[in-house]
């Protein structure tokens, strides 16, 4: 009894009383802040009801969603199948791809040699040595023999007369006419050279077309179009040369008229002087 009495009295005095006070405060706070204890196990009836709810959810919601998804996938499948059919049977049928390649091969076999042979038909017609030499150089398609060309041209069409033999103005105009004629003939030699290279480009494009895929044909078409632009530029060069030549012919004819006017004036002057 004595022990119990002393034990109880220790809670009411000194450090024991403080400890008890702190402890009670903490216990009160934990009791207020701490979560309530969870309820324990449910009953079997509740489990069956939950299972029924899950079954209903699976059947009515998940099942329905899966059915919808399945339907959508079938639609996508049909779309892709239609797309495959469109590409393989309408847009890029293998048979027509092969047919197009075969067409290129047949055109090469049928026409390339023929057109080359026609282009190579000789049209040289000169009979005497100097014209024959000039004709040969004029038509050889070389741009490396212009010096020889100048010489042969002047041998056939005569060199510029010496200054003592011709009016200075006429001499210059003859030189200009010769020069533009020679310029044009040289430009034509260069053009013949370019024609051969252009034909080579066409052949390269055509050879590739015989093996092309539908997706690469645009490269070849583009290369062909660019080549055609370059060809147009070359044709313009030739037309410019022709313009210079025709202009020189007209200018020369006109200069003769001017000379005639000069000479007529001089004649009138001389006649007037004579009868004075």
């Amino acid at each position: 009894m004595e022990f119990i009495r002393r034990f109880l009295s220790s809670f009411l005095t000194g450090k024991g009383r403080s400890s008890v006070a702190i402890f009670l405060a903490m216990a009160l706070m934990i009791g207020l802040v701490g979560p309530p204890p969870a309820k324990a196990q449910i009953g079997a009836i509740a489990a069956a009801a939950a299972a029924a709810a899950v079954v209903a959810f699976i059947t009515n919601t998940i099942g329905a969603l899966l059915g919808t998804s399945n339907g959508l996938l079938s639609d996508i499948n049909r779309f892709f199948q239609a797309l495959v059919n469109l590409w393989q049977q309408v847009v890029y049928p293998i048979a027509l791809i092969n047919q197009a390649r075969l067409m290129v091969t047949q055109l090469i076999a049928q026409f390339r040699g023929l057109v080359t042979a026609i282009d190579n038909v000789s049209v040289r017609s000169a009979t005497l040595p100097n014209p024959t030499a000039l004709e040969g150089i004029m038509r050889n398609g070389s741009v490396a023999d212009f010096g020889q060309f100048d010489q042969v041209f002047r041998t056939t069409f005569q060199p510029l007369p010496p200054a003592a033999n011709i009016n200075p103005g006429d001499r210059q105009r003859v030189d200009m006419s010769d020069a533009l004629a020679m310029d044009t003939l040289k430009a034509v030699k260069a053009s013949d050279h370019v024609v051969q290279q252009t034909l080579q480009a066409a052949q390269m494009i055509e050879d590739e077309a015989a093996q092309a895929a539908p997706g690469t044909a645009a490269f070849l078409a583009g290369a062909g179009l660019v080549a055609a632009v370059e060809n147009q530029a070359m044709m313009q060069r030739m037309l410019a040369a022709e313009l210079r030549e025709e202009a020189a012919i007209l200018a020369h004819t006109n200069a003769i008229r001017k000379r005639q006017a000069d000479m007529a004036g001089q004649f009138r002057q001389d006649a007037t002087t004579l009868f004075k």
């Binding site: 009836i45 069956a48 996508i76 313009l243 001017k258």
Partner: protein, 272 residues
């Protein structure tokens, strides 16, 4: 000391700590759960079975159907990929086509060099000056044509030296000839520009993808149309010049016939 009294003594010595520990444990420790009693195993198994049946009968067939559809879709996508990779856009053919574009460009680089080869041939000073201007391919030189032309081919005769009709004819012929020479310079410059544009397009084409090649092709087509127009324009200049030349020949016949008529008249007058 009796061990029992000694334990009590120790407890008494640490009574505060002991008490605090006991109280903390009693508050923190979870309350004893109420244990299940009377478990209905049959109901629980039936519930689980019903869920299993629902999964088996509803979800599994749907998933199998989706799986089948996805398999079909996968096959379709694979066949599309194979078709485009092997038939429409084979990499080897793409590489070859790009290589071809480069090869054609190389060829046209040579062609351009050939087209710019020097063809000048005049030997005297004045013809050389005019020829140099005419072959310059530089439109800035167009204004120089007139002076060089007149130096070489002379100016229009003075009114004292020629009749007004002759002067008109001479001036018109000079104008046509000079205009043609100026146009020749401009056309050469246009041709140079077209070749530069073609070069640029070709460079782009050699780097293009199959999907962008038609875009470059469209640009090339536009340039081709433009080049055709310039060629047509140049042809028009040639035709115009030839028409003037033809008119000049006709005018000469007309002059001759007028002169003959005048001579006849003069002869008749002298007989009077």
């Amino acid at each position: 000391m009796d061990p029992k009294w000694r334990l009590l003594h120790v407890l008494w010595e640490h009574r505060t700590k002991f008490l605090v520990l006991m109280l903390i444990m009693s508050l923190v420790a979870p309350p004893p759960a109420r244990a299940q009693f009377g478990i209905d195993w049959g109901a629980i198994v039936a519930a689980i079975n019903s869920i299993g049946s629902a999964i088996t009968n509803t979800i599994a067939p749907a998933l199998r159907a989706i799986n089948g559809a996805l398999g079909t879709l996968s096959n379709l996508v694979s066949s599309i990929q194979a078709f485009f990779t092997n038939i429409v856009y084979p990499q080897a053919a793409i590489n070859r086509a790009q290589g071809l574009v480069g090869a054609v460009q190389g060829l046209y680089t040579q062609i351009q060099a050939t087209s710019r080869v020097n063809v000048s041939s005049a030997t005297l000073a004045n013809p050389q000056q005019l020829e140099q201007v005419l072959l310059s391919r530089n439109p800035m030189n167009v204004p120089n044509v007139t002076a060089n032309y007149q130096t070489l081919y002379q100016a229009v005769p003075t009114p004292r030296a020629a009749s007004p009709q002759t002067r008109d004819l001479v001036d018109m012929n000079d104008a046509a000839a000079q205009a043609a020479m100026k146009r020749a310079i401009a056309i050469d410059a246009i041709a140079d520009t077209e070749m530069q544009a073609a070069d640029r397009i070709n460079t782009e084409l050699a780097q293009a993808a199959p999907g962008t090649a038609p875009m470059i092709e469209a640009e090339a087509a536009a340039w081709l149309v433009r080049a055709n127009a310039y060629t047509q324009s140049a042809l028009g200049d040639v035709v115009r010049l030839r028409a003037v030349t033809l008119a000049n020949s006709g005018a000469q016949l007309k002059f001759n016939s007028n002169n003959a008529a005048q001579i006849r008249q003069n002869a008749l007058d002298s007989m009077k």
